[in-house]
């Protein structure tokens, strides 16, 4: 090493950092964030692991195309203001993405260092830079305010797609109004993702940044009810619809309406948005029981089961009809859940929810499954083993098997093209075909990830900007 610069060999010799975490026995008693964030030296050394390769596979793997080697290089040279500026230039919600993106299947999956070892911890570095920026507003390099274009855009929904589109559009100088149906911003980021993965002050910080960019936010406005899409189209030059896929899917098995049975959305909304169960004097209640079973294998299922654990459940179970390999949840979340004592009841399909006759759920009747040939999703199809019926006890059962398109908005605007599932149809750049009307996020995709929704928001903002320049 000369002049503080490292050779490739020296960089290659550095090992991937380990994220400091709250110990499992501590964190199951609180909603404090599990991952604590890298320290300054850790981040500096991790940044030096980046080889600045020509392939830039990481950038190709990022749905919003963050200039990853550039921001990491800035971290490596200890220039955090520049790192923050590069990151923010490409990503409207870096502190969110640094926490909840599945980097292991995106940017980090394509990192050249994986060929001989571990990928650069891109997600951890993104979070490090974003958190630094949030706590050092005075040191940020700010771009001059854009010249107002005179065009106005309505954005429907303040989840990841809406927030991203709003931020990007504001940068172009358009007047952006963001409409949110709930009483607070963030959409699924706030009502869906628990604070032990994404603290509310992070969402607040990202939203505040957008406000400073001039984005106007109106909560308690349900498009399709309070205002129609037609009203928005007459009041704004363009409209971007990103109202999410809010309708929970039920299993359609007996007993789903018993007391103590929740959908993931209801359980998470009670606890995350309404603070149920977290303070004794909180007015919104949530049912707490000793044994809690969560049906499903995605991130929402993991969020539910770990939340139930923190609300005091002694036995918490993930009940999933395939095996752990097929679980769509992030590996880190599965790992954290296991550390927290969650049981994984795999290859198990519930056939009925049981009650002792008092109206309350008491357990699940299940069938053991085995994996057959791959199905349309490419995963091996679970098939029931005959005669394998058994019961699991549970005083709370949470159904976390996905969501479908919420028809509230689209039902009020019949000219919006939909597919057979009720999702809005768009072309590859986010336009619906109806002039001035664009869409993205889960209302288009069905249930997907935060970062894919953000990618939609970013792409739609480019399309909307082109549309406005033409108009």
């Amino acid at each position: 090493m000369k002049n503080g610069l490292m050779t490739i060999q020296e960089r290659m010799a550095l090992e991937r950092c380990v994220m400091p975490q709250l110990a499992a026995d501590v964190r199951i008693r609180s909603f404090d964030e599990v991952n604590r964030g890298l320290g300054a030296h850790q981040a500096l050394m991790e940044a030096k692991r980046c080889l600045r390769c020509r392939d830039r596979g990481c950038v190709a793997g990022c749905p919003v195309g963050v200039s990853i080697p550039e921001f990491i290089t800035a971290v490596a040279s200890d220039d955090l203001p520049r790192a923050a500026r590069i990151l923010r230039g490409d990503n409207e919600l870096p502190a969110v993405c640094g926490r909840v993106c599945p980097q292991e299947t995106q940017c980090e999956a394509l990192c050249v260092r994986r060929i001989k070892g571990d990928a650069v911890a891109i997600g951890y570095l993104e979070r490090y830079v974003a958190d630094w920026a949030m706590s050092n507003p005075d040191r940020l390099l700010r771009d001059p305010a854009p010249t107002p274009t005179g065009y106005s855009v309505a954005v429907v929904g303040s989840g990841p797609a809406g927030l991203t589109a709003a931020g990007e559009l504001a940068r172009y100088g358009h007047a952006v109004t963001l409409f949110e149906a709930l009483h607070d911003t963030g959409g699924v980021l706030r009502y869906g993702i628990p604070e032990f993965r994404l603290p509310k002050e992070i969402i607040d910080g990202e939203v505040e940044f957008l406000r400073q960019q001039g984005v106007v936010i109106e909560c308690n406005v349900i498009i399709g009810k309070t205002l129609t899409v037609a009203q928005l189209r007459s009041q704004f030059t363009a409209v971007f619809i990103a109202n999410g896929a809010g309708l929970p899917v039920m299993l359609n098995i007996p007993g789903e309406n018993l007391k103590g049975v929740y959908t993931a959305n209801e359980f998470l909304t009670r606890v995350n948005l309404m603070d149920a169960g977290r303070r004794d004097d909180n007015p919104t209640p949530v049912i707490k029981r000793r044994e809690v079973a969560v049906i499903g294998g995605g991130n929402a299922a993991l969020d539910c089961v770990r939340t139930a654990r923190r609300l005091g459940a002694e036995r918490t179970m993930i009940v999933y009809r395939r095996s752990e390999t097929e679980m769509p949840a992030r590996i880190q979340e599965i790992h954290h859940a296991r550390e927290e004592g969650v049981e994984f009841v795999m290859l198990t399909a519930p056939t009925a929810l049981l009650s002792t006759g008092d109206g309350w759920v008491s357990g699940l009747r299940c069938l053991k499954m085995e994996l057959g040939l791959p199905d349309a999703s490419g995963r091996r199809r679970p098939e029931a083993i005959s005669g394998s019926e058994f019961e699991l006890p549970a005083g709370v059962v949470i159904i976390a098997v996905g969501t479908v398109a919420n028809p509230l908005l689209t039902a009020s605007a019949p000219d919006i093209p939909l597919n057979k599932f009720g999702n809005i149809l768009i072309n590859s750049d986010g336009a619906t075909g109806v002039p001035g009307l664009f869409a993205g996020g889960d209302i288009v995709r069905g249930g997907a990830t935060v970062i894919l929704a953000m990618g939609d928001g970013k792409r739609a903002a480019v399309t909307i900007n082109e549309y406005l320049e033409r108009s």
Binding site: A181, L182, H183, V221, T226, N257, T269, P283
Partner: protein, 283 residues
């Protein structure tokens, strides 16, 4: 922020509040509701919009202050604000000219019934309105409903106003009278009342519409907490309702789900009484 324009006590634990909410006042149709959250940290409470004045930009809510959260809402003074009012939610009522209709309201359900009666009267229906409650102070909106109805019948359980008994008794007479039998019945009130009405009309095949008020959080279809069994299907009251065909509703299931938080609510009432020094014994 939504300013409280008027706040009057009109019955036992019952308040009439007029709130400034111009967009909701313009968009609202009879049968729809709002979700109200008084302040940060408070509960989201679904409340039927009883009336609206699009010109003044106000909506009228009748609020029965029985829980900790509703007591705080009715404690808001004129000129003060409610943090969150979201709506109008749910579907508007299907209002057509049926000919003769009976509108049956129990307790605070009468407040939900009132906009229906108004719309049905405007559509040219001839209406028999039957409202009931425990005793005289729980009978509301008689003066407003009377001019909209061909006849207004009142029942109280203690006989302190109108006929002693339940709303189902005058309804039974009506159903038995070929000259007065209605083509449709609207019923809003406690679940056992709506169940009793639906059972009576089912025998004669008279279309009966009930308005359900299950436990609800977001009111936009997102949480599924308000699910009710309608025939062989599970429906969400917030997006599929709140009005349903009374012949198909699983009233027992609805009753049971409404008790999900009985323990927690009793605790919360006690806690709030301790804090704000209301009353002595908790319910």
């Amino acid at each position: 922020m939504f300013e409280v324009i008027r706040n009057e006590t009109i019955g036992e634990n019952l308040h009439k509040m007029v709130v400034s909410a111009p967009r909701i006042a313009s968009a609202r149709k009879p049968g729809q509701f709002v979700i109200v959250r008084l302040a940060p940290g408070e509960e989201r409470i679904p409340l039927t919009i009883s009336d609206a004045d699009p010109v003044a930009g106000t909506i009228t809510l009748f609020i029965q202050a029985v829980g900790a959260s509703t007591r705080k809402i009715v404690g808001t003074r004129v000129g003060e604000t409610i943090r969150d009012v979201a709506g109008p939610l749910g579907n508007g009522s299907r209002i057509i000219n049926w000919g003769r209709v009976a509108c049956v309201g129990g307790g605070v359900g009468t407040a939900v019934l009132y906009p229906l009666v108004k719309a049905l009267a405007q559509a040219g229906n001839r209406i028999t309105t039957i409202i009931g409650g425990r005793s005289a102070p729980s009978i509301i909106l008689g003066d407003e409903l009377s001019p909209l109805s061909d006849s207004l019948l009142i029942t109280t359980e203690d006989g302190s106003l109108g006929t002693k008994g339940y709303v189902t008794e005058p309804l039974r007479d009506l159903l038995a009278d070929p000259r007065r039998v209605p083509q449709a019945v609207f019923a809003v009130g406690p679940v056992p009342m709506m169940k009793a009405v639906a059972e009576m009309t089912r025998k004669q095949g008279i279309e009966t519409i009930v308005s359900l008020n299950p436990i609800m959080i977001d009111g936009t279809g997102m949480c599924g907490g308000c699910r009710v069994q309608i025939g062989s299907e599970t429906k969400f009251a917030c997006v599929d309702g709140p009005e349903f065909d009374g012949a198909l509703v699983d009233f027992d299931g609805l009753s049971d789900r409404l008790t999900s938080y009985r323990t927690e609510e009793a605790d919360s009432c006690r806690a709030s009484e301790c804090r704000i020094g209301l009353g002595k014994g908790a319910p």
